[in-house]
């Protein structure tokens, strides 16, 4: 055995470095330091590629235990994730131990109400009464709803919010959006992508600001928004493979697809952690754990939240039904984000993934009319663009 990670001394400096062989002397000195635990890994001299691959396989299988093992989609994704994790581990990524993948306990955090003493709507009302929504959002929404508004009105409102306008321009200029030439003003952007497409993007980006003060013990915000951004990228890419869909709204839907979770984390932090612990130990996806522990899930909360905000109905139903697309008034749209979310969770298995992948029914998959080889294509597109897009948002 060797140390997988540095052990810090009392002064915060490195007490024993990663890679140190754990002989009796090293173990005695760790015990003397009083370190509660240490990360270890097998001595590289004793491992073999076969053993590595077996470990990787059992690690990856955990994430696929809930889904149909005969589904062509999930079989393809399983192999692609195996390759990904294998490559990551070749580059030195260590498979996290169970302890690292557990949610952290939050004994000091209080919930808004006990089970059955309140419902999802109470959460949403409470949340919207506390935090006010960005002004720009309402102005954009108003223009979208008014038939008399012009592209110039929209450009004026969006440009007035300097940080929003800057983000939008960087987004539109990114290779991912792939518009020809350099776009240096919002009115130019509107001319290229269209008023309602740009407004939808602006709605999504301005909504992100609403979510603050999420307890960091529950969720690291960077991890959360990275997942959302991945889902946005996949959403737009999936939509672009389907005939007749404008893809910008899928980018926005992806960005906000898990917004309901943030409202839950903030108002029911203790119960949310219980759901996370339950998901991890039972092998059920977090979605199902939410339903069992809280009695409702993040899609229900998001649906109500977006209704409270008067979000455009089609975006709302994509988000509210992204785990049950067949129940949606527009099933194919919701299925786009269901797949995007699953792919985002899939590529995160080699970094921050924690929970079993939620399933996708064959019927929902069929709605998309994709081939299994498209999965590889989609993941390559994601890999090509994701990194660069993170700099627009973070």
């Amino acid at each position: 055995m060797v140390l997988a990670k540095d052990i810090k001394g009392a002064d915060g400096g490195v007490f024993l470095a990663a890679g140190t062989a754990l002989d009796d002397a090293a173990i005695a000195s760790i015990a003397a330091l009083g370190a509660p635990f240490a990360y270890i890994k097998p001595n590289p001299a004793f491992t073999s590629p076969e053993k590595d691959l077996q470990r990787i396989e059992s690690f990856v299988r955990y994430y696929f235990q809930y889904v149909d093992p005969d589904s062509p989609l999930f079989n393809e994704l399983f192999r692609l994730v195996m390759e990904r994790v294998f490559e990551a581990s070749q580059k030195g990524w260590a498979i996290p131990c169970e302890y690292e993948r557990q949610a952290k306990s939050v004994e000091h955090l209080h919930d808004l109400f006990f089970r059955d003493q309140g419902a999802s709507l109470d959460l949403v009302k409470h949340e919207t009464s506390l935090s006010s929504f960005p002004d720009t959002y309402f102005k954009i929404k108003e223009l979208l709803d008014s038939p008399a508004s012009t592209a110039a009105d929209m450009a004026k409102v969006v440009s007035a919010d300097v940080s929003l306008a800057a983000k939008l321009l960087r987004l539109v200029n990114s290779p991912f959006f792939g518009v020809a030439g350099r776009v240096d003003s919002i009115s130019h952007a509107i001319a290229l992508v269209g008023v309602s497409e740009l407004a939808t993007l602006a709605l999504g980006i301005s909504a992100i600001k609403f979510f603050k003060d999420i307890p960091p013990e529950l969720m690291d915000m960077e991890t959360f928004w990275k997942h959302s951004l991945r889902c946005a990228v996949f959403g737009k890419c999936v939509a672009s493979l389907l005939p007749g869909l404008t893809s910008e709204r899928f980018f926005t839907a992806g960005l906000l697809h898990d917004a309901g979770r943030l409202v839950m984390f903030k108002n029911l932090p203790y119960a949310s952690v219980q759901a996370m612990l339950y998901a991890r130990s039972s092998g059920a996806p977090l979605l199902e754990a939410e339903r069992e522990i809280l009695g409702f899930d993040h899609t229900e909360v998001a649906g109500l939240l977006l209704e409270e905000w008067n979000f455009p109905a089609e975006l709302r139903s994509i988000i509210a039904y992204h785990h049950d697309p067949l129940l949606s008034p527009a099933p194919r749209d919701a299925a786009v984000i269901q797949l995007a979310d699953i792919l985002a969770c899939g590529v995160e298995i080699s970094s921050t993934g924690m929970y079993s992948l939620p399933g996708m029914t064959q019927e929902a998959w069929n709605l998309l009319g994709l081939k299994t080889y498209d999965i590889d294509k989609l993941i390559r597109l994601h890999d090509k663009y994701f990194q660069e897009l993170t700099s627009v948002f973070f």
Binding site: F64, Y66, D68, P69, N75, M82, S105, E107, H110, Y270
Partner: protein
């Protein structure tokens, strides 16, 4: 082995569970334990038990079902099965806010009224105690509250679970870091001693707790549990369907002495299907009281 061997991998590793086999196994599990496996977990169940079929050299889930019913080691197999379909997640001082209000409102009230009646006999039932962290926590809390005067009391904490593996761990009373994730450091220092295998619970706490295997779906067995003033059943009924929840809650009602309290897990409520108890809501925790 390299990347190329990955391309031949498939998810399916176990025999397929047919809908009929799933229905049968699900029915069996429900009849015996009251645990309800939702249909959406069909693949999860298949996955969790698949390796077991191979170990037992069985070719199908139908064979596994009859093994569970007829094999000489069926009792042992049932324990194994339960472990695969429930979680044993627990820790000392789990939900400390709830325990604080429990101490200040419930425990204090119960101890005082017993003292007034001059009957210093306290029975607590910890139903679904997993590896023992919960009943031991209650033992520690009693020591903290009664201090030296605890010697004048007859205290019995009856702790049960369906899983004999968990009960064995509980009886050993040795725990690692994971069990202490919700535990104040001073409680660890005061009530545990460091051993090579972990931290051992102090015998004066251990003495208060009696562990025994018990299936909450076994009506007769439930009747034999000593009548209690307090019942803890936290994070257990989540596995049951409404019918079974009702049965268990009624059994708790019958077991409780008049004025006794039932304490459920943080995210559990019996609000929707039982009104026999009076809910008492305090900031931090909620309890159910049998009036009388």
């Amino acid at each position: 082995m390299t990347l190329s061997s990955i391309s031949s991998l498939t998810l399916r590793k176990t025999p397929r569970i047919s809908d009929a086999e799933f229905a049968d196994l699900r029915g069996f599990i429900y009849d015996v334990t009251g645990i309800d496996i939702p249909e959406r977990r069909q693949y999860l169940l298949e996955n969790r038990l698949g390796a077991r079929l191979a170990e037992l050299n069985l070719k199908s889930f139908a064979e596994y079902s009859s093994y569970l019913r007829r094999s000489p080691s069926k009792d042992k197999e049932l324990v194994y099965l339960c472990e695969k379909i429930t979680t044993n997640e627990t820790s000392f001082f789990r939900d400390s806010k709830q325990l604080d209000v429990f101490r200040d409102f419930v425990l204090k009230d119960v101890l005082e009224s017993l003292q007034q009646d001059g009957r210093k006999e306290l029975n607590i039932w910890s139903a679904g105690c997993s590896s023992g962290e919960e009943p031991y926590t209650l033992g520690i809390m009693l020591h903290e509250m009664l201090r030296m005067s605890i010697i004048g009391w007859r205290i019995r904490i009856s702790a049960n679970d369906i899983s004999t593996a968990m009960l064995n761990k509980a009886k050993d009373g040795v725990y690692n870091q994971y069990s202490f994730k919700t535990t104040p450091q001073e409680m660890i220092e005061k009530y545990f001693t460091k051993e090579p295998g972990g931290f051992k619970i102090h015998p004066k706490v251990q003495r208060l707790v009696s562990f025994a295997a018990l299936n909450l779906n076994d009506r007769m067995a439930l009747k034999r549990v000593p009548k209690s003033q307090i019942i803890f059943c936290r994070n257990v009924i989540i596995y049951f369907d409404e019918e079974m929840k009702k049965k268990v809650i009624n059994a708790f009602y019958d077991n409780l002495l008049p004025g006794g309290y039932l304490i459920l897990g943080h995210s559990e409520s019996i609000h929707k299907f039982s009104r026999v108890f009076k809910p008492i809501i305090k900031p931090g925790g909620m309890f159910y009281r049998k009036e009388g």
